[in-house]
Symmetry: C2
Subunit: 456 residues, 2 copies
């Protein structure tokens, strides 16, 4: 990496971290309406910081929910344009008693920063801002054109982002979408993510008798919606762990031998079992753990409830039961097709004495880029420079709906280069972020902007 | 029935109903600690009412939970002694929005009284009190010795009643136990119940990973406790509806040909399906609906929950899942044996990757009296007099644990002569009680006290 840039980063490390702590101290919890002003405050803070860093056209743009922060630096139409995406909102902090530090008073211990949003995603949003600021401060210009789109509703499903993109399609046009909201393989094990699982969410409701019944008076004669529900839900999987829904795997693209090898090598079942405190791992047979997470679909029951939940017993036959399900999808599965297959299966296996109501909820298409795409090469080179090791071309099991939005609407090639770790407790108490990854990650992001024009 | 008694009942009908409405207006919900004072208030009200009605030794007797209301009238040791049992506590009222009247402002419409506790069991407790009061007012004496034992914890499993009976075994000695907490076959179809199902309750908890996991990051690799739970719960029944637990049916006494005939004749599946708004009835094959409810055991899931229950989706893999189960038992099943069989089954069918925690909760032995017992004959005669039709000798699918307590500890012959209807929504919104059954039932209770000395 360029000596001047490196020196500037070293000289300004403390000042940057102080700013990051300022940003993290704002409790921008998007799901909690009592924090509405805090979310706005975080947007203001970010806009000012981008402005101070030399970015132009900085603006807070309204949506029907929390605002979007936009900024750009567009000085040479012959250069590629990079659209940087991240989110400045954070998850709630419950259960607060499980935190060992105040979630909104970030603390640094042993080169790890603790606090809500450190890794997901304010810490990484801050890195994207500092990537541009550093180059502008040192060089007075950028090797690419750049646009920033930071949203405040990622943790509540990005409900208004699609509409925002539609309304501002010209403003957001770019060659590359750079997303820093994914994870590395491990400390000092950088990764470029080239694939994400999609999603098909549904809510299943069963209705039985007109109301809850006394299990003494009617038990043995009428369908219990929970009996029907457990039978129906148990029918979704074979005992082996394989999904039992007809045609579910039909469109699944097989893993290449190379991809399979990477997955198998990265699978460490013993370590994972220790990390999660479980005595066994389960899942689809014939695939390693990492292959199952990266490249195989799932049908996951996220919630199930019916009948009595209080202390002790209540002898009711519940009249309704509800299940919330998300299917994680892989290329080339189509969320709409999977939704239809799910509906057909549920109807076909519906036990007698109940009626079925299925609602399709969120969906996102799975995604995988060709491994030889030039942007992936630029990202690989940048990570190798910064981390001094070969990066892994990885997939991830989660969904980042924004990637699809941009790819489908704008044809933008995504680069998912994140610096969090799966063990950093995002969405949980004691979220944290390794500053070693922050330091090298920031260098990698800067290198990426220089590598990009060379490969495209 | 005696003319004087009949006239007295007619003259005092309005005054009695006003008192009953007073009693029903007290929200004596035993399971809810915020209603502790209301439960006590109901006990006070009942004690005062018994006292005003001429009963003696009226007292509110403490237990470790809600108190027992006791009263007696013991004037002639040569006469048989009847111990009357009922409960003055009621079920919670949730879901409150499904009620069309205020559950604690009873309303009479078309000779039906609506409100929590009208049929289960405050309305019937009130009838027992008025049975004695009426005879004493008119005749100045009773044809039997009588004792009242009204508890305030029936709806929460009568946790302290066994200890209370042990402590007061002499006080409670009686020849006959009269329980008005069961139901008739239909309006104007009286019944004496000679058998009750027992109960074995348990709570099943599954524990998976150390906490809820992100279904994107881990989905496909680790056990989801809800997947394990639905598989485990689905294993409790065969597809036919038969219970799949090994040895579960071993001790079930078969129905006699006569009993089977009664059950078959009383089964009206079309009417039941209409009543419950279901398109099919399900249950153990080869038994009619009434036989399944009266004389066959069940394994019923009363509640099941785990993971996300809010609006929309949350992509978690839940780390715990809970099921609440009650088995209804028939002669000669033993709750302790069934509890052990359940535990063995659950352990044996436990899916990989989760741990199991089973807690045995309430239990009650099943019960059936010989059909030629003299008290059953006296009850039959009294019902025929009051309802002008032959009563049915029935069983019921519910449990009345007190029946066993007294039969086992005191050798007391139980007479289960209740006046509720299965359709009267006990434990549910819009509980009600037909006053036609109240009127005839009160007459039947009075007649029973006169018939008893003749048959014993």
């Amino acid at each position: 990496m360029d000596q001047q840039l490196n020196e500037y980063l070293q000289k300004n490390r403390d000042s940057y971290l102080k700013q990051m702590i300022d940003f993290l101290s704002i409790p921008s919890i998007s799901s909690d309406s009592t924090h509405r002003a805090d979310v706005r405050h975080a947007a203001d803070w970010l806009a000012n910081n981008l402005s101070d860093g030399g970015l132009e056209h900085v603006s807070i743009m309204e949506t029907e929910g929390h605002p979007v922060v936009y900024a750009d630096y567009l000085h040479d139409t012959s250069k590629p344009t990079v659209l940087c995406y991240g989110h400045y909102d954070v998850q709630p902090v419950d259960p607060i008693d499980k935190w060992t530090t105040d979630p909104f008073k970030p603390e640094i211990k042993d080169n790890i920063i603790y606090g809500r949003g450190t890794s997901d995603d304010k810490g990484q949003v801050f890195m994207l801002a500092k990537m541009a600021e550093t180059i502008l401060a040192v060089k007075g210009d950028l090797p690419v054109n750049i646009k920033f789109l930071f949203e405040g509703e990622e943790e509540i499903g990005s409900a208004h982002l699609d509409a925002f993109v539609d309304q501002h399609i010209d403003l957001l046009k770019a060659d590359v979408l750079l997303v820093s909201d994914t994870t590395m393989i491990g400390l000092n094990e950088p990764a470029v993510c080239y694939g994400l699982r999609g999603l098909c969410g549904l809510e299943v409701r069963l209705h039985g008798a007109k109301g809850d019944l006394h299990s003494g008076v009617y038990g043995g004669a009428v369908q219990n919606t929970l009996h029907a529900m457990v039978a129906l839900m148990a029918s979704l999987h074979e005992k082996s762990g394989k999904i039992a829904i007809e045609s579910f795997y039909d469109d699944v693209a097989p893993l290449s031998a190379d991809e399979k090898k990477t997955c198998d090598e990265l699978s460490n079942d013993t370590a994972l079992m220790q990390e999660l405190h479980v005595n066994a791992l389960v899942g689809e047979p014939d695939y390693s753990t990492v292959a199952r997470i990266w490249a195989r679909p799932t049908v996951e029951i996220n919630g199930l409830f019916g009948g009595f939940e209080g202390e002790g017993l209540k002898t009711v036959i519940p009249s309704t039961a509800t299940a919330k399900i998300t299917c994680r999808l892989v290329p080339d599965q189509d969320p709409a097709v999977i939704g239809a297959l799910m509906k057909r299966h549920l109807q076909k296996h519906l036990p007698a004495g109940v009626t079925l109501d299925v609602q399709l909820l969120d969906h996102a298409e799975p995604f995988a880029m060709p491994l030889n795409h030039p942007t992936l090469k630029a990202a690989g080179k940048a990570l190798k420079d910064a981390f001094e090791t070969e990066p892994i071309f990885s997939r991830q099991g989660g969904s980042v709906p924004i990637v699809n939005t941009f790819h489908n609407k704008l044809g933008t090639a995504p680069v998912l280069m994140g610096f969090g770790l799966d063990t950093e407790n995002f969405h949980a108490p004691n979220e944290h972020f390794h500053l070693a990854n922050y330091d090298r990650g920031l260098r990698a992001l800067i290198s990426f902007l220089y590598a990009l024009p060379e490969t495209m």
